[in-house]
């Protein structure tokens, strides 16, 4: 059985000379010098892993500072590449000697930080390495699923309170419409609709039914961004990085007894964990858009009951596919924007100030007469939210949705 290091060596360039370190002038020579030290140490047998780890950490620390300067949009991609190289060198240092599970988990986390905050380097080598690490972890067999089964059954028996949907406000439903029908009846007139039966073929709903246990087995040790706090308009709202296992323990199973809300929201999980991507399919109707299919942004939304996305609008069309659990959703037309009192600030101008399910009519009188559509989305449903249509979402129980933003 090949050692972990030999498997990782096999995906690295054969020699120092084949290992590229090209950067624009944005990256100062002094930083490139440290990267060269790292590269040299990677191929020389003589270096202690402690030394290699130290130099990799210098690269991570200096690029981390650049990544945190200014807004994310303005960060030079070159620094994100440097950060990824730092992660690569750190992982190499961690995996040199037969590492124990603790080290392997640290290495996976390092890869994830590179995937989340860095930019792809060397044909997305961090993605390749994390796959090697994950299979190594599985082989060393950390099976804690037994006790989780009991706990998950506990969640499943909770019966959520399902809001009553009035017929005159209900979002229309249609089963497997043709492309033409969808385009003519809903896309062009920008009318919301729930499409039924169009994701029945997803492995996520039949062959590999998604569940908390399945998620743990496929991505338990992977680090993901989590939103903490009841809603993003709140003062105590923040984001943190947790492994999927930690997120499930703390916010789904609530093992620590806390009552703060946590939501794995708006995260391109399927880019990070390709195995999950194989369980879903791009809705055919996306081809009706003007842009290319690979420009569709796919996000995962995974959380306990009670997560709330305040009333807001997005600049693209959305297919919101429900896979596990149920959600209550309310929709308002962009024509009624004035009755929804959007925030004035630049940062939140696409978000309404109104608390949809307990509105303050004194501050927001017009909201009472704003027409809306509402629905409860069940597994197998796909909600079409036309561009700039205001939507409010509350999960009624443990829920996993996949959103497709397309134009």
């Amino acid at each position: 059985m090949a050692s972990l290091w030999s498997k990782i060596s096999a995906v690295l360039p054969a020699s120092e000379a084949d290992f590229p370190l090209q950067f624009s002038d944005t990256v100062q020579q002094s930083v490139v010098e440290v990267l060269k030290w790292c590269r040299r140490q990677l191929y020389s047998g003589a270096t202690s892993p402690g030394q290699a780890a130290l130099n990799a950490q210098i690269v991570l620390d200096v690029s981390w500072e650049k990544l945190n300067m200014g807004t994310w949009r303005h960060v030079d991609k070159e620094w994100r590449r440097v950060y990824s190289y730092g992660c690569l060198f750190k992982v190499a240092a961690l995996c040199h000697e037969d590492p124990l599970v603790e080290r392997l988990l640290q290495a996976v986390r390092t890869c994830d930080l590179g995937l989340l905050m860095g930019a792809a380097i060397m044909d997305d080598i961090l993605q390749v390495i994390v796959r090697i690490l994950q299979s190594e972890i599985r082989r060393s067999g950390e099976e804690e699923h037994q006790r989780d089964r009991a706990e998950v059954k506990r969640i499943k028996t909770e019966s959520p309170h399902i809001p009553e949907i009035k017929d005159e406000c209900a979002v229309p439903r249609i089963k497997c419409p043709s492309l033409e029908t969808f385009k003519t009846s809903f896309l062009i007139p920008l009318r919301p609709v729930i499409l039924e039966g169009i994701i029945d073929h997803w492995p996520a709903l039949n062959k590999h039914p998604w569940s908390v246990e399945y998620l743990r087995s496929v991505a338990g040790c992977r680090t993901v961004p989590v939103e903490v706090g009841s809603r993003y308009t709140d003062e105590n709202w923040s984001q943190t990085l947790l492994t999927v296992d930690e997120f499930i323990d703390k916010y789904i199973l609530k093992k620590d007894g806390g009552n703060v809300s946590g939501y794995l929201a708006q995260h391109q999980l399927f880019e990070q964990v390709p195995e999950l991507k194989e369980d879903i399919r791009l809705p055919d109707y996306c081809c009706l858009g003007e842009r290319d299919e690979d420009e569709v942004t796919v996000n995962a939304w995974f959380g306990p009951g009670g997560t709330v996305s305040p009333l807001h609008q997005d600049p693209q069309h959305n297919f919101l596919a429900q896979v596990v659990g149920s959600k209550y959703i309310r929709l308002y037309s962009p024509e009624d924007t004035d009755r929804l009192y959007p925030h004035q600030s630049q940062l939140l101008h696409n978000t309404s100030q109104v608390e949809v399910e307990s509105p303050d009519f004194e501050r927001f009188p017009e909201f009472a007469v704003a027409p809306y559509l509402e629905c409860v989305l069940w597994p197998g449903d796909v909600l079409f939210i036309p561009v700039r249509h205001w939507h409010y979402v509350r999960s009624l129980e443990l829920s996993f949705s996949v959103s497709f933003w397309w134009s």
């Binding site: 002038d25 020579q29 010098e33 202690s48």
Partner: protein, 390 residues
Amino acid sequence: MRWFGFGFNAFGQICAQKEKSDEGEANTTEVKIISPTELSTTVDGSGCSFKTRKIQASWSRRVSLRGDGDRCVFLAGFKSFPSAESSGCTDAFISESHLTLAFQDRIETWNLQEEDKTPSWNMEISAQPESSVSLPAGVNLPLAPGGYITSKPPFYYHLSAQLKAKSLALGGGHAVLLTAAGDVYTWGLGSHGQLGHGGLASEEKPRVVEALCGMPMSSVASGGWHSACISDIFLTEGGDLYVWGWNESGQLGLPSRGLWRASQHKSSQQSGEKPEESGTSLDGEQQEEDKHEEVFISIQAFPALLDVSQSCEIQKVSCGSRHTAVVTNTGDLYTWGWGEYGQLGHQTLMSSDEPQRVEFFKDEQMRVIDVVCGTWNTFAAAIKKDDAYS
């Protein structure tokens, strides 16, 4: 006066590598210098030792300005060539990419990444004090007549003469200006509260820090994402330190959640229990953190008065990327913030969100008189206590 340095030394900017291994890489022990180490005295051509009157440091280098005779600069660290063309230099300012030198009649900015024969930028200065810089001695880098100098093209930026700029501290993405009247102006990135106007907005032009109006300041400093200033001691009850900006590593000297969490992690590791195994320990941790909830400060958007040490006046302040250092009127050096490269000088690699005295100088019976922070290191000037009045 002797200079000491501690912190990041991967390029030998504090003390040169004594042994270079065959591969020419940095030795582990010398990358992080955790205890103040005296900077070796430089000797010039005639064998006289180089008295350093000013030091400036970037991430990978250190520049020493000679205090006597020829007034040269000495450069240490990454790719440093001793600069012979710098005689008569009155001031120096270094960034990661450029070195700016001021002379009696001109200011020059040199690109440190190329071996150019001519400076990237220069300007002539007249001897008249007819400028926005009110210091009699001349310029006060990075302030120059009529404006200031940065390390990126177009290098020179204009400043209104009405500001009467006295000193300028350039931080990671922002600037802190002190005027002759003792007012503080800030501009640049504000995302971490480093401008001190109470919000997170950035400012394109200098804007006065209103919270400090009415309290004249005597000096200003800026780090990666934080700022500091000292109130003028010639007015009532001066010598106070004000800080604002990001506190993720405790660089403001205020309780930092990140540091608290790290210390909890360490203590649970040391006691041998894995947090995930015992459900109660996770419970206790969360409750402890919730108790301290209101106390943690991650961003301080308005200036806050920091009590460094009781009944002490602060005389000097300098900021590194994520740490802060001050000198008191009692000759003590206090540091706090990010310490993972030894830049706090407490013989450890730990960060701290509380000001702590650098005991080395007390133990050596030395009086610290100046401090300058590089990005990840700290330089302090000290004299023997009995030499204090010589």
